[in-house]
Symmetry: D2
C-alpha cells in the first residue's frame, strides 16, 4: 500500500451526504425520492463501485485475453445494484410512465433531468458504476429511442432485454472520412429490396462493438439521397450485431487505452466496422424513412447532460485525489509540505470554483429541458457541452501534475479520467462546431435588438445634450470645435 | 452619428423583458414584486440612464472644472427614479423592516440578495444608474452599517440624509504602505482624550472624497493596539468630512480616469487623505471599541454580491456592443462581414457561455446568504468575488478588440467599463488572497475525508482482489512477480 | 517618499551593463559601436529620462492647460541627448549613408535593425526617452519615408527640421467607419485640380495632432478610385498642418489617458480631424499617384520591430517594479513577506521566461530584415507584432496586481504602460487580421508539402508492412480481420 | 488508405532543406559539417524512420507478446543509420575528442549543443529515429556520465558496447513515495560491506527496464546518510541488470501506453523495481562516495536541451498533420472547407508563432551552454525546460482537435506524441519546482538592484521637481494641498 497516503491520527468531521450538499440554487428542484436515492447511490459508488474499478481493470487485463470474456465482478455489482433499487434511473418521467411494470423491470426511473443529472455526477466518479446500474451510454440513449419510437415488436425484441441489462447495444453514426458532426453527411447506404433493407458502407467509433454481449446496433444511413431536404435523407435501422456481412475490422485506441470514449460506456472498445450487403427486414426501420436526423436531435439533449454531469463527478474525484496528495507527508519537497505551497492551494481553490460554476451551468440546462422547452434550451445545452469538459480536463490535469509521475500511470484513476474526458470535446461534434453555432444563434437572435438599442440610446443622448445645452468640455487646445462626444 | 451602426431594414423580434429572461435555476426564487420592479428598472436604465451617461460625462468635462460642481442631469435622474419607485432597493429585508416608514424614505427595499442582485445587474449597465436610485457604493454599505450598528442619534444625523440621497459618504479603510487586505494591519491611530477621539494617520483610495456632497466618513483605525486578539484592535468612527485636520492631498487616477474604483460609485475621485489631530466626540464611535473588524466582516458579503452582479451587467452590455459591431456593414475587412468571421463568432459564443456561468455562481452565493447561513457562504462568496471580474474583463476586452481603435476611446462605454472592472480584482483584497484562503479552507475542511476515502477504497480493493483471486494481467515480460496493482 | 520600498542594508552585486547582458544568440550580431552606445543609452535612460518622466507628467498636468505649451524638461533632455551623441539612432544603414553630413544632424544612425532594436528596448523603459533622442513614432517612420521617397525640395522643407528635432509630424491613415487595417479601404478623397491636390474627408487617431509643434502631416487618401488594382488606388501627400480647411474636432482618449497610442509617441493626443477642400500643390505628392500602399508596406516592417522592442523594455521595467514590490517589507500580508509567496514567485519566473522568449522572437525578425530579405520576413515580423504586446500586457498586469491599488494609479508607471501596450494589439491592424494572414500564408505555402509527405510516408509504410510480413497484432477478439493499421 | 488526405492536382514549390530553414539568429552558429548532416538526417527521418514507426508499432503489437522480443525493423534501421554516418551525434565536443577512434565507434559526434539540438529536433519527428542512431535517452546521458567519470575498466565494460549500440542502459533515480525532484531525498540504501556495495530499496519509472537488451543500470542511492551536506549523501553505482536480488515487479503505464516517458526512449516500459541485498563490487562506484548529486547536475543540462528540441520536432510534425487535415476535401462540414475556417487558421498561425518562439528559447540556452558557462545557463535551461512542453502540448492538442475522433486514436502519431510530451512537464522535476527556483533566483539576484534603481530614480525626480519648481497640476478641487506626485 506504499503509494496511498498515510492515515492521519484523528478522525475528521463526518462528511455530509450528497442530499445535504446540493447547491442552494438546486435545492428546491429535487424531490425527496431523488434525495433519498442520491444518498444510496453515493454510498454504493464510494463503498462498492470505486473499489471494484481496479479489480475490474485487473480482470480485463492488458494482454490478449482482454478482448474475450467479461469481468465477473461487474455482474455481481449489477445484482447488488438491483437489490439497492438502483436500476434504470436514467429513464425519464415521460417514457417511464409510458412503460408498463414489466417493461420497467422494477427500475427506478421517472426522475427529472435535474434529478438524474445529480445522480449521474455520482456515477461519474467510478469507471463501472454507470454500467452496473444499467445507466451506461450508448444503451441509455438507445433505450430512449426504442421506448419513444419503437414498434411493440421492436420493444419486445430489444428494449426488454436492454432494460433488463441482459444485452448491450451499439449506436453506429460516425463514419471515417466524413464530417459526421453534420448528420446530413452520413452516407452508409440503406437500400430497400423487397421486404429487406440492404446496408453497405463503413462506420467507426462504434462503441461497445468489441463486446460479445453487444447484440443490437442502431445504424444511421443514407436511405433517401435525393430528398430535397438534406436533413430528411437519412434513416435509422435496428441491425443485430451478428448479421451476415458485418465485419469488425479493428479496434481504435484512445491515447493508448482500448476504450474510454464515453464516461458511461462499458469497455470492449470502439470498432471500425464494415457493412457488406447486410440484410434486415424493413420492419427493423425506426420511425420511418428519412427520420434519422429527427431521431438524432431528440436523442442528444439529455445525453449531453448525462455526459456533462458524469464529467463533473470525475472532476470532483480528481480534486479529492489532489487534496489527499497535498496532505501526504512523505512528499515534502524542499522542506515544505505540499499543502503549504501557494501554487497548489490556488489550484485547489480554482478547481473548487470552476467545478461549482460548471455544475450550475449543467443543472440550469437540465432545468430548462425539464421546463418542457427542450428546443429553447439549445444554447444552455451547448454551454454545458462545451464548458464542462474543458473545465474537467483542467482540474484533472492539475491533479495529475500534483501527483508527479504517479499521476500519469495506473496508480490513480486520473490518467484514465483525463483521456475519457478529452474525447468529450470531440464526441457529438467538436467544441468548435458548437461554439460557431452558438455564436451564430446569439448573433441572429440579438443583432437587431442590440443595434436598435444602441442607436436609440445615441438618439436620446443627442436630445439630452441639446436639452442640457452641454458644451463638450473634453477637448483640449485652441483648435477645438463644436464636434460632439460620441458617447 | 457617424460611428453608430446603421439601422437594418427589417424589425426584429420583440425583446423579452428582464423578468422573462431569468435563468431556470433562478426563476423560482424571485417574488412577483421583484419581477415587476426588474422590468421597471430595465426600461429606466436603457431608456433614461444609459443615454444620460454621456451627458453626465460631458457635464463633468475633462478640464479643471471637473472637480467642482455636480452634473445637474444626475439630480434630475434621481427625481425620476423616486417617481418610478426606484429608491434604496439595496436595503435588505431585515434592515428594511427594522426601519420606520420615515426612515425608509418611501424606498423600495426589503428584497432578498438574489432579488436585489438581479436588479444590480441591470443597474451595472449604466455608469450613473446606481447613484441615481441611491444604490451606489460606498453609500449602500455605509447605510447598512449605520442601520445595523448606529445609535438613534447617529441614525438621525447621518442615516436619514443618506437614505434621502441628500448627502453622500466615504468609507476610509485602505492605507498606503499597508497590506490592507488584512484588516488587522490598519494603523491610523484613534486615541481617546476625555470625551474626544483623536485621529492621526493617512488613508487613500477614499472613494468620493473629492465630492463636495460627501459629508461623512466612516473611518477604520487602530484604537486598541495592545489587545491580544489582533482582530480586536481596530474601531470604526463616524467623522464629518469637514472636520478640522483632514486634508485631501491629491486624487488618485485609475488608468487615466479620475474615478472608477467601484462600479456603483459616483465620481469625484479617490483621495489620498491625511488626519492630523482630527477630533470627534466619543459618541461617534460605531458599536464599540475594538469592533472594527467585526463590522467589516458583516459589510462585505452582500457588497461583493452587488459588485459582482453589476459586473455581470457590464459584461452583458459589452456583449451587446460586440454584437452590434459585428453587424456594422461599413466595416467589412477583406470583403467578409465581421459577423461571418469564425473567430468573432466564437468570441460571442464564449462570452455568452461565460456570462451565464458566472451569473449562476453569484446568484448561488446570494441564495446561500439568503438561506440565513452567511458564514457558511464564505466559499460561494469568494467564488463570485474572484470569478466574475476575470470573466467580465475577458468579455469586455474582446468587445474592445472587436471595435479596434474605437474600443479604447470614449466612443463606447467599453474602456471605462474595463477599467472599473479591473479594480475589482484588487478591491476588498486581491484575488490571490481570496484564492489562497479558499484553498486553505477547502483543504482543511476536506483533507481528512479525502484521505479516509481513498485509503478505505484501497483497502476494499485489496479485499476484492483476494476474493476474486485476481492474478494481475497487466504486467509484461518474464520478470513479472506477484506485485499487486495499486489501483 | 512613503510608497517607495526601503533601502536594504547591504549593497548588492554590481549590475551588469546592457552590452554585457545580450542573449547568447544575439551576441554575435552587435558591433562594438552599437555595444558602446547601448551602455550610454542605458545609463541616460535610467539616470535622466525615467526620473524626468514624472516631472514631464506633472508639467503637462491634468487640467485645462495640458493642451497648451510644452513641458520644458523635454527640451532640456533633448539638448542633453545630443551632447551624449544620442540622436536619430533609428536611421537605418542605407538611408543614413545616403544622407549628407548636414542632413544627418550629427545623429548616430546607421545601425542594423537588430542593433537599433536593442536600443529601442532601452528607450521603451521611459515615457519620454524616445522623443528626447528624436526616435519617437510617428516621426521615425515619417522621416524614413521622406528620406527614401522624398524629392530634394521635400527633404529640405520637412526632413531637415524633423531630423533636427525642430518640428514634429503626423501620419494620417486611419479613418472612422472604415476597416482601415486594409489599406485599400482608405477613402479620404484626393482630387487633382490643375496644379493642386484637393483633399476632402476625415481621419482619426491622428497622433500628435494636438501638438502645436506638429507642422506636417503625411496623409493617405484615395486618388485613383477606378484603378483595377485595389492596392494602386491610394496616394500619400505631404500636408502642412496649418493648411486651410483642416479642423481638429476633438481629442480621443485612451482608457482615460489623453495620449498613449504609441510607445514612442510624444503626447498631445490623438485627434479626430476633418479635411474640407484642403489644397496643396501637386509637388507635395510622395513618390507618385497610386503609390500609397507601396509606401505603406515599406514603412511597417521596421516600425513594428521598434514598437515590439519598446514593449519588451516596458515589460522588463514592470518586472523590476514587481521584484522591488516583493521585497517591500512594509507589505507583509498574513505574516509572510511577499517574496515568499509561491504564486508571486511563479509570476516572476513566468515573466522572466516570457520576456526572454518574446525578445528572441523580435530580434530574429530584425535579423531577417537585416539579411536583406524583408519580404521573406513577413511571418517573422507578424509573429513579433502579435506575440509581444500579449506578453507585455500579461507581465505588466501581473505587476499591477502585485501592487494592489497602488498599481492602477499614477504612483507607478504600470497603468500607463499597460494602456500604451494595449493599443498595440490594435494599431497597424488588430491581432486577428495578422493571425488570419499568417495562417493563410502558412497553409498556402505548405499544404502541398505536408500532404505529399504524409501520403508518401503512408505508401512507404504499406511497402514496409508487406516486406516485413507484419500481421497486425493490435486488434482484439475473434472478430479481427486482416484490416491494416492506418499509421 | 482511406484516412489519408488525397493528393492535390498540382505540384507545390520544392521544400527547402533543414539547413536552409535555420532561423536567422541561429544561422551563424552552425558549422558546414553540421549543416550537411542536418540534411542527411532530415531525409532519413522523413523517408525511412517515420514510415517505419507504424511497422515498429505493429511488430510490437498490443498483446501479450509485446513484452518479449524486439522489432526487427529497428535493427535494420540502425544498420542503415551507420551507413549514412548517423551514429552517436549526441556525443559532445569535449567527450568526443577525449575518446579514441575505437571508442567513438565511427560515430559522428563532436557537435555543439546548438548543432546537436537542431539534429534532435529532426529526430523528434519520429518515434524510433533517436534509438536508430544511438541517440536515445537514457543511454545518451548514461554514456556521457561514463565517458566523463568512468574508470578505464568501467568504460571498457559498459561504454564500449553502449557506443556500439549493442546493449541499452537504465537510469534509476526516481523512487516511489519520495519527492524525487530533490536529489537529496533519494533513499535506496547503498552500504559498503568489504569490497562489496549492498543495495536495498525500490525504484520506479526505470525506463527501459522491461527490455531484455537493457544490461546495465546506473543507480542513485543513499550511501552517506550522516553527511552534514545534504547534497553529499548520495552516490551512483553501476549495477548489471541481471544481478541477483533485482526484481522488476510491474510495468507502469502512461495514459494507457506501455512506454512513452521520454521522447528518445526505446520502448519496453517503465518498471517498478525492488533491490533486495543486491551486491556489486565497490569498483562499480562512479566518481566516488557522495558524488551522486554532483554527477546528476552535470547530466541534466544537455539532456533538457535534447528533450526540448525533440519536443519542438513533435510540435512541427503536429502542425504538418494539422495543415494536411485542413486541406482534406472529404471533410467539409457545413459546406466550408476546413482551410477557410477562421478559428482553424488562427490555430495554424498561433502554432507557427509559438513553435518558432520556443525553438529560439531552447537554442539560446544551448548557445549559453556552448559558451562554456553552463552554470550561468541555469535560468535559460529552466526556461526551455518549462516553456517547450507547454507549447508542444498546446500545438499537438490543437492538431488532435482538428482531426476529431481520428486524432485521439492510432491513425495519426498525435495522441502518442501528446502523451510523451505530457510526461516532460514532470520528468526531471515538475514545472512548478523549476518555476519556483527560477523565481527565487531572479528575485535574489535582482532585488537589491531593482530597489536601488527605483529609490534612486525617485530621489532624482524629487530633485528635478524642485529644480523645475513644478506645481503639481494633477489634483482637483479646492482641498488640494502641496502633496507631491509619487511618480
Amino acid at each position: 500500500m506504499s503509494n496511498a497516503p498515510p492515515l492521519p491520527t484523528a478522525g475528521g468531521t463526518p462528511k455530509r451526504k450528497a442530499s445535504q450538499r446540493l447547491p442552494p440554487l438546486v435545492d428546491g428542484l429535487v424531490s425527496q425520492r431523488a434525495r433519498d436515492l442520491l444518498d444510496v447511490i453515493e454510498k454504493w459508488v464510494d463503498d462498492e463501485c470505486i473499489p471494484s474499478d481496479a479489480v475490474y481493470t485487473a480482470q480485463l487485463g492488458t494482454g490478449d485475453e482482454r478482448w474475450n470474456g467479461h469481468p465477473p465482478i461487474l455482474e455481481d455489482l449489477k445484482k447488488r445494484a438491483r437489490e439497492l433499487g438502483l436500476w434504470n434511473m436514467f429513464l425519464p418521467k415521460n417514457h417511464y410512465s409510458n412503460l408498463n411494470e414489466y417493461d420497467r423491470y422494477g427500475g427506478a426511473g421517472g426522475f427529472t433531468n435535474v434529478e438524474y443529472g445529480l445522480m449521474a455526477e455520482l456515477l461519474g466518479r467510478s469507471r463501472i458504476a454507470s454500467e452496473a446500474c444499467n445507466c451506461a451510454a450508448p444503451d441509455t440513449g438507445n433505450m430512449e429511442v426504442i421506448a419513444r419510437y419503437g414498434t411493440p415488436d421492436q420493444k419486445k425484441a430489444w428494449l426488454a432485454p436492454l432494460l433488463a441489462g441482459e444485452i448491450r447495444s451499439g449506436f453506429l453514426m460516425t463514419e471515417p472520412d466524413k464530417a459526421s458532426s453534420d448528420g446530413s453527411n452520413i452516407s452508409l447506404s440503406i437500400r430497400q429490396e423487397g421486404n429487406d433493407l440492404v446496408l453497405n458502407g463503413s462506420k467507426w467509433w462504434s462503441s461497445g462493438s468489441g463486446d460479445d454481449r453487444c447484440k443490437i446496433f442502431i445504424v444511421m444511413g443514407l436511405s433517401d439521397p435525393n430528398s430535397s431536404d438534406r436533413y430528411k435523407r437519412q434513416s435509422m435501422v435496428l441491425v443485430p450485431s451478428n448479421t451476415k456481412g458485418i465485419v469488425v475490422h479493428r479496434m481504435l485506441s484512445v491515447y493508448g487505452y482500448d476504450d474510454v470514449l464515453t464516461l458511461g460506456s462499458a469497455p470492449h472498445g470502439h470498432g471500425h466496422i464494415t457493412f457488406d450487403n447486410v440484410r434486415v427486414p424493413v420492419s427493423n426501420l425506426l420511425l420511418g424513412f428519412g427520420k434519422g436526423n429527427e431521431i438524432m436531435q431528440g436523442r442528444l439533449g439529455p445525453g449531453r447532460i448525462h455526459h456533462a454531469m458524469r464529467s463533473i463527478g470525475s472532476a470532483e474525484c480528481a480534486l479529492e485525489w489532489m487534496i489527499a496528495r497535498l496532505n501526504d507527508d512523505r512528499k515534502i519537497p524542499f522542506g515544505i509540505p505540499l499543502r503549504e505551497h501557494g501554487v497548489l492551494l490556488e489550484w485547489v481553490a480554482k478547481s473548487r470554483m470552476e467545478i461549482d460554476s460548471a455544475r450550475l451551468l449543467v443543472i440550469n440546462a437540465a432545468a430548462k429541458i425539464d421546463s418542457g422547452d427542450a428546443k429553447a434550451a439549445l444554447t444552455e445545452i451547448a454551454e454545458a457541452k462545451v464548458a464542462v469538459p474543458r473545465m474537467a480536463l483542467e482540474v484533472i490535469d492539475r491533479a495529475v501534475q500534483a501527483h508527479g509521475a504517479m499521476g500519469v500511470c495506473q496508480d490513480t484513476p486520473l490518467a484514465y479520467m483525463w483521456t475519457r474526458t478529452r474525447t468529450l470535446r470531440i464526441a457529438d461534434g467538436p467544441d468548435e462546431v458548437h461554439l460557431n453555432q452558438m455564436g451564430r444563434r446569439e448573433n441572429r437572435a440579438r443583432a437587431q435588438e442590440c443595434i436598435d438599442r444602441i442607436v436609440d440610446q445615441k438618439r436620446r443622448t443627442d436630445e439630452l445634450m441639446a436639452k442640457y445645452k452641454v458644451v463638450d468640455k473634453q477637448l483640449g487646445g485652441s483648435k477645438v470645435s463644436g464636434f460632439k462626444a460620441k458617447l
